[in-house]
């Protein structure tokens, strides 16, 4: 298993950056998810780590060894492709055996290792079939088996569940996570699905526009997004972000709402935007509580019933809609006014120009 380090790694296609210089250290046995919308550079980053794509500048280290210019086959990694990339003219067994045969392993070793991996992934019954005859889930299991069979130093996975049906996706997600726990192998996993990222990652690297926006644990990126992009991208729906104006320790929000800033936040806010200035208030849907004497109010615009909970859409003023997660018993008539309070521990503030999060303790 391996520690993977990216030092100022960048990729340019022509003049355009696919990945701006980034630093990242992935610890031995860690499951890191590269998350971002399509075209953000996450797949390019993964391909650079694998060696399928060359870097424009920077260094890639595996366990301290510089592999920047090594061929993929010399990096001791396995890659799981989004569209499986199985050899269509070979049976599942032959596909899984391929990396071992390429290395010139003996017949007996190959037989034993293939069977072992097949048992682990529960695909013994399909070993004789060709990829074309298999379901998407089984094809991806075969691809996983092919990756596992060589016992590489690291697993790189490029949206391995992206081509699967929704039902499959959830169970495969659990299977991959289970495999990672069992193997304890360094894994880098690319996805655009933030739920997948939250569910699987030890750490998440959020990327957008070729830039790393935040690196953190799922809880960190969820509760303490580094900027507006991460706040919006993580969570469904994303964080509520309402533009307001700070004056006299109160933030004036749309719809005539006034939000008294929690004591602990005031110095940091005033340092960031001045005694008076614009600020963006962010809070997750579950950070708001519908209470009769809540300091804030909005008009009930719509209600989504999810069974376990209800998502209220509240309109503070025209086109300024926030989401509030409520108890499933609570039913408010449309167009009625709902009052709510915010959990002070779960409110975040962002700078309107830099879009960066404002931190409670001013950092050096």
């Amino acid at each position: 298993m391996a520690t993977i380090e990216l030092q100022q790694v960048e990729k340019k296609f022509g003049e355009a950056y696919a990945v701006k210089p980034m630093n990242l250290t992935i610890h031995d046995g860690e499951f890191v998810v590269l998350l971002g919308p399509s075209g953000c550079g996450k797949t390019t980053t993964l391909r650079m780590i694998s060696g399928l794509e060359t870097v424009t500048d920077g260094r890639i280290l595996f366990d301290g060894r510089d592999v920047t210019w090594l061929h993929p086959s010399d990096r001791d990694i396995a890659f799981v492709f989004q569209f499986f990339a199985l050899y269509s003219h070979m049976t599942a067994r032959q596909n899984i055996a391929f990396p071992l045969q390429a290395q010139g392993e003996s017949r007996a070793v190959i037989e034993q290792r293939v069977n072992e991996v097949a048992r682990m992934l529960r695909i013994e019954h399909i070993l004789g079939q060709r990829p074309g005859a298999l379901s998407g889930g089984d094809q991806q299991r075969v691809a996983l088996a092919r990756a596992l069979v060589r016992r590489p130093a690291a697993f790189l996975m490029d949206e391995p569940l992206g081509a699967l049906d929704a039902d499959f996706r959830e169970s495969m997600r659990a299977e991959i996570k289970q495999l990672h726990i069992a193997q304890h192998a360094t894994t880098i996993y690319v996805t655009h699905d933030q739920i997948e990222a939250m569910a699987m990652g030890d750490r998440i690297v959020v990327m957008s526009d070729a830039v790393v926006q935040q690196i953190g644990t799922p809880a960190e990126v969820y509760h303490n997004p580094a900027n507006l992009f991460v706040a919006r991208f993580i969570g469904s729906p994303g964080m509520n972000l309402v533009r307001g104006r700070l004056a006299d320790g109160v933030i004036h929000l749309p719809g005539g709402n006034a939000y008294p800033v929690p004591e602990a936040w005031l110095p940091a806010l005033q340092q960031a935007v001045g005694r008076e200035g614009e600020v963006i208030v962010g809070f997750r849907p579950e950070a708001a509580d519908i209470v009769d004497d809540g300091p804030l109010a909005g008009r009930v615009y719509a209600e989504d019933l999810y069974g376990g909970y209800t998502m209220l859409h509240l309109e503070l003023e025209t086109d300024e809609i926030i989401h509030v997660r409520t108890n499933r018993q609570l039913i408010l008539p449309i167009d009625s006014t709902a009052r709510f309070a915010l959990d002070p521990a779960m409110v975040r503030f962002f700078h309107p120009q830099t879009e960066a999060a404002i931190h409670q303790e001013a950092r050096p």
Binding site: S50, G51, L52, H71, P72, S73, I77, A78, F79, F81, F83, A85, L86, Y87, S88, H89, M90, T91, F98, P99, Q101, A102, Q103, R130, R146, R150
Partner: protein
Amino acid sequence: MSALPQPNPTSSSSQRARRQISDRTILHLFIWPTLILLILINIFPLFYSLYLSFTNYSVISNKPPEWVGFANFIRMLNSEEMWSYFALTGRYALLSVGLQTGIGFGLALLLREKFKASGFLTTLILIPMMLSPVVVGLFWKLIFNPAYGIFNYLIGFTNPAVAPDWLAQPDLALFAIVIVDVWMWTPFVMLLCLSGLSAIPDYLYEAAAIDRASSWFQFWRITLPQVAPLLLIAVLFRTIEAFKAFDVVMGLTGGGPGTATNTVAIEIYRQAFLGQFRTGRASALAYIVLIIIIAVSNLYIRQINRAREG
């Protein structure tokens, strides 16, 4: 619509006339000329020659065909000459298809990598295939000419006095024809291989690189099996054509010197249109060739299907 003024009475009347021809009529107008032509020059001769192959008919005699049963076939199959022509045709087919396959696949592998002007080069390479065989025969005759042909010069014989006469020497003539056929039809094999190669997705090679397969291993385990179905189709087409080799051979040597390049197709022609015009025997021979081609094709097709499945 009817309320609209109709400024040009002639156009409206022609419209009416056109409307009188129904779709079905148009359909018949298109199909029947083609069908009649096909029946006259393909279907009818096919069955008529089958009938003639069991007769002693000759087109220049004024006698009607007389039924002789399998006599023509027995005669052909018992003739040592005939067997030597078949052997010759087989040797020719093996050599020329073998070389075309090897060179064509090799060229395809080279042209698969895109480089500057690779498209233009591909087009250039395809030219021989587009030429008429008669033209090819004529100008290769000039190229092979021992006195002023460029071929000998290119392979190093600068003195015409000692240079080989490719088309006149019995031991060389067959190779000369093989060379021309390879020159003309290698591009065809290349073209099919090229389309087969370009259909192999890049990710298979990426996966193979990750799986630590060497280039050699990738070639044998991915490129070749993936391209095999198309390669075999190219070989099938070329083999069928080789068994029917006539036009270029006729243009270059006419089967000579002696019988050195007397392929079966040339022999059919000789039987049918030279000397006694033995139409019946020629038909029998043609049917023997047809049966051989069908048999060989079936063997290939079985292989192609096997390559597709596994």
